[in-house]
């Protein structure tokens, strides 16, 4: 046998510059496809849903279990002491409760007039747990542990603490991605509850370090909007259901055009410590139909 025949067959391989070119072309193609068509990455969503989500679910379950155990140990002593104080407080509160029962009756009457709560609690909701957050530091979005199998769909609104969190923008069988209203690239059409003036609420990474987001294009010709006013989602938004609380106005400035006003809003939801959310099982399109 000649020495050449003994030599191992060299493996076929592409030079790395062509491989780089190939991959680049693939990425650009994918970007073009997702950007110019309505194709949302559904088959891929399903595939990674089976591979990654069970792990995320498990890790966050263990994490929650551990942090609960640690909290329990630490709080046991405090709880015993608190128990004494609380017993004394019960008597005091029973008296107050009677008073409040009367107030509640009055409140219910007022609510009926306002019709706000009616709409709010009329929606069918389902609870979901946050199992993972955006890996980068540029945007606020997170994954919840329910998907199309649980009756969720694209564009469904997500609330927590009685305020608006965001909406579902991608969905798999057992997970969905929620983008938050404080996201730097998110815009929500809102309305000042007291005066029914429309405005645009914009998320901002820069302002979120102070715990606020910005609003703009508020036409408040009567000058009635004040600091502390409630801002809710407006009826003209095509993604968000009407009258969900977004936050409270903390700053108002006159724009240089002297027609509109802009300023800052404190969100009603504590996005830092969000663990469980409620998904409203109706979308704006369904209601419109």
């Amino acid at each position: 046998m000649s020495p050449i025949a003994k030599r191992k067959r060299t493996k076929f391989s592409i030079p790395s510059k062509y491989l780089l070119l190939l991959f680049t072309f693939l990425c650009v193609l994918l970007m073009a496809v997702t950007f110019f068509t309505d194709y949302s990455s559904t088959p891929l969503n399903k595939l990674v849903g089976y591979v990654v989500v069970p792990f995320q679910n498990g890790v966050s379950r263990i994490g929650t279990w551990l942090s609960v155990r640690v909290d329990e140990l630490g709080e046991l002593r405090i709880v015993l002491k608190e128990n004494q104080e609380l017993k004394a407080k019960i008597d005091e509160l029973t008296a107050q409760n009677t008073q409040l029962q009367q107030d509640k009756y009055e409140l219910n009457n007022l609510r009926e007039l306002y019709k706000l709560d009616e709409e709010y609690s009329g929606y069918e909701k389902v609870g979901a747990r946050i199992i993972a957050r955006d890996g980068g530091n540029w945007f606020h979005s997170f994954t919840i542990d329910k998907g199309s199998d649980d009756g969720l769909a694209m564009d469904m609104n997500v609330i927590a603490d009685g305020g608006l969190v965001g909406r579902i923008v991608a969905i798999g069988k057992n997970w969905s991605k929620v983008t938050a209203v404080i996201n730097d690239n998110s815009n929500v059409s809102g309305m000042v509850l007291a005066s029914s003036d429309f405005l645009m609420v914009r998320g901002s990474l820069e302002l979120m370090t102070d715990g606020v987001i910005e609003f703009e294009q508020l036409t408040d010709s009567a000058g009635k909007v004040q600091i502390g006013d409630k801002v809710v989602t407006s009826s003209i938004s095509d993604k968000y259901l009407p009258s969900i609380l977004i936050g409270y106005i903390t700053e108002i400035n006159q724009d240089s055009n002297n027609i509109t006003k802009s300023g800052k809003i404190t969100p009603a939801v504590d996005f830092e410590h969000l663990e469980e959310v409620l998904v409203i099982l109706e979308t704006k399109q369904q209601i419109a139909d």
């Binding site: 680049t24 990654v52 792990f55 890790v59 993972a132 730097d184 690239n185 820069e206 830092e272």
Partner: protein
């Protein structure tokens, strides 16, 4: 083959940890970038081919779960993996200074590109703010995590010392 199986588990574990555990361990609202550590390490440990493939897979994972457009993060990670592949020839397993430096530079480049493409193009011009509150903290935190994580990745892929530093020839 064995290396590819290890690689699969490293990527899945890295992605899961980045989106769950390290989100709980955020310092000043900043989480470290584990996928950059994995992409860069495989780049300079095994050459351009590996760097590119690992970067592409990591980027795709980010795109599917958190991206707006499919292929955007994949492209950034792809080039970071390829760029790290150039340093394969001067990489020694025993040396930790080069990996630390490369990972730091990679993470800075990643954040900078993200800022330019995702923020600057939407007329957010306040670069100094983003540099101070996102880019540099993320880099520092990533380096801190690298000190503990990189030896683990290295150990999983350790090759015998007596075969010389070019035992893992680029194919």
């Amino acid at each position: 083959m064995k290396r590819n199986i290890i690689l699969f588990f490293v990527i899945i574990t890295g992605f899961v940890l980045q989106t769950t555990l390290f989100q709980a361990l955020r310092f000043g609202n900043i989480a470290p970038n584990i996928l950059i550590i994995i992409t860069a390490s495989y780049g300079f440990m095994f050459g351009k081919h590996y760097g590119m493939s690992v970067g592409f897979i990591c980027g795709m994972l980010m795109d599917i779960f958190y991206g707006d457009v499919l292929g955007f993060y994949a492209l950034i990670y792809l080039y970071i993996g390829a760029a790290n592949g150039f340093f394969h020839s001067i990489f020694f397993q025993e040396d930790i200074k080069l990996p630390l430096l490369l990972i730091a530079v990679s993470d800075f480049c990643y954040s900078f590109v993200c800022y330019v493409l995702l923020y600057l193009l939407r007329s957010r011009f306040h670069f100094m703010f983003y540099l101070k509150s996102v880019i540099v903290p993320e880099m520092v935190y990533t380096i801190f995590v690298t000190v503990f994580l990189y030896p683990c990745i290295l150990l999983l892929n350790w090759t015998r010392a007596d075969t010389g530093y070019h035992s893992q020839q680029e194919r």
